[in-house]
Symmetry: C2
Subunit: 276 residues, 2 copies
């Protein structure tokens, strides 16, 4: 593992690291914020999965989460959104290929060799983090924005018991029924839609749900709201009698100004679940 | 004036606007955060001047000031750091030309026609803002980072009575004695060092001082600390018996992680002076 930078931040440390990844077959970069409490021993962890076009950096510098994580004494992990670099397939569209991994393991050409972000964020990166840093594996929560909200919800529901709480900002709620999903699932997973359902929050909500606190924020002025389909997930929550808070935030769009406006609430929400 | 974007943010609005500038002879872009209170009437204004390589955008998306400005009910202005675009002179170095206006009016070729950032931030942009938005001209404060800290301090001292308070993050304190200053002042203002003193915070502190609250934060692990020369300004404050708070923040570097870690303090500091 290489240390790319470490900056003192709110009394803790914001680091950026890279490592050779087996899952994606290349070098991967991630951000990790450790609060001051990590100098004394393992601290709880909040995962933040990012959206289309983002790297490990966007949320780390724009979301403003460190202020509240420092106050709560919890760490923040910012993974990248896809494999990158020479020899990694790409597409001219912003919503396919590099920067658009969709948190799945691709099985189709040309994506299969590297686009294994599901294994990366659910297995390889956690093992690296818990072996390397003072992080409490038994105290994890997860959040994300847009494609990363899709990632957070699908990962949280797929690993019952791993996460104390889950939240999302403007998540892609039903990729199987959206142009933000069908195109990518077809490209990465192939034409069999049965295989897509494992990565669709609405389908997972109907089948599995989430046993813990759940919080979703969605801006009413989000320019992508018809692609995000919040009503599909809300409908599945209703059918399942899933507890949770689904907030429609009046006048907010899809930008980081929306995320940063409510990140305090989300970090506090997760801190309450993690600190129990 | 053109509206480039407006995003709901902490209950207020983060806008980005551009306009034809007489001072710089081209189109200029700025960010403006208005708190919810601006819907009711004019609100106080905190100017944020940015550092080398920055545009209007960096602090607007990275510094995290809006959270605290919203709480205090004050507006934030994020000007660009130089003229830009076709026909505007530039230099391959990151610290001269576009992105490096140093808040002076250039008199030398090739810079003189456009690089008039002093007039832009002290005259033209204020007039535009106070004519266009619900901002209280009698309630202004100013801050900035690095080159923008230099700008904030020199502007505040040069217009006695205009600003209720001044603060800076890791400002360039004595450009006349630093490679971050001598090179640029020679290029923009010519070889006569007498003319440089009007843009040197240490010289201005000796001559004018600031009649109001003053706050400076400087990281002890700042990679540029020898170029910033905080000891020169602190010495001038001592000589003058200038009141103020000069904080050396242990372990912090020059990045926005440093700025964001202390922006809450700075906004609160200015809010107290503005609301006082």
């Amino acid at each position: 593992m290489k240390t790319l930078s470490e900056s003192r931040c709110y009394g803790g440390m914001q680091g950026v690291y890279s490592h050779a990844s087996t899952a994606t077959g290349g070098e991967m970069t991630f951000g990790l914020f450790l609060p001051a409490e990590a100098e004394e021993g393992p601290v709880p962890v909040l995962w933040y999965l990012s959206g289309l076009t983002c790297t490990h950096e966007n949320a780390m510098v724009k979301a403003g989460a460190q202020r509240w994580a420092a106050e709560a004494g919890i760490a923040l992990v910012f993974p990248d959104t896809s494999p990158r670099g020479e020899g990694v397939a790409n597409d001219p569209a912003f919503d396919l290929g590099q920067g658009a991994g969709f948190y799945v393991n691709a099985t189709q050409k040309p994506w299969a060799p590297h686009f294994r972000m599901w294994d990366y964020v659910t297995d390889e990166l956690p093992r690296l983090l818990f072996n390397t840093f003072p992080l409490a594996e038994e105290a994890q929560s997860i959040t994300g924005h847009s494609m990363g909200g899709h990632g957070a919800l699908t990962v949280a529901m797929s690993f019952p018991g791993r996460f104390a709480s889950v939240s999302a900002f403007a998540p892609i709620c039903q990729p199987m029924a959206s142009d933000w999903g069908r195109k990518q699932f077809r490209a990465y997973l192939g034409p069999d839609e049965q295989l897509w359902a494992a990565h669709d929050s609405t389908a997972l909500m109907r089948r599995l749900g989430f046993d813990g606190p759940l919080l979703i924020d969605q801006g009413t002025a989000d320019q992508f709201i018809d692609l995000l389909r919040p009503e599909a997930l809300a409908g599945a929550m209703t059918e399942r009698r899933q507890g949770g808070t689904f907030r429609m935030q009046k006048g907010y769009d899809h930008s980081y100004f929306f995320v940063s406006s409510f990140i305090e609430d989300h970090v506090s929400f997760h801190a309450a679940a993690l600190m129990g």
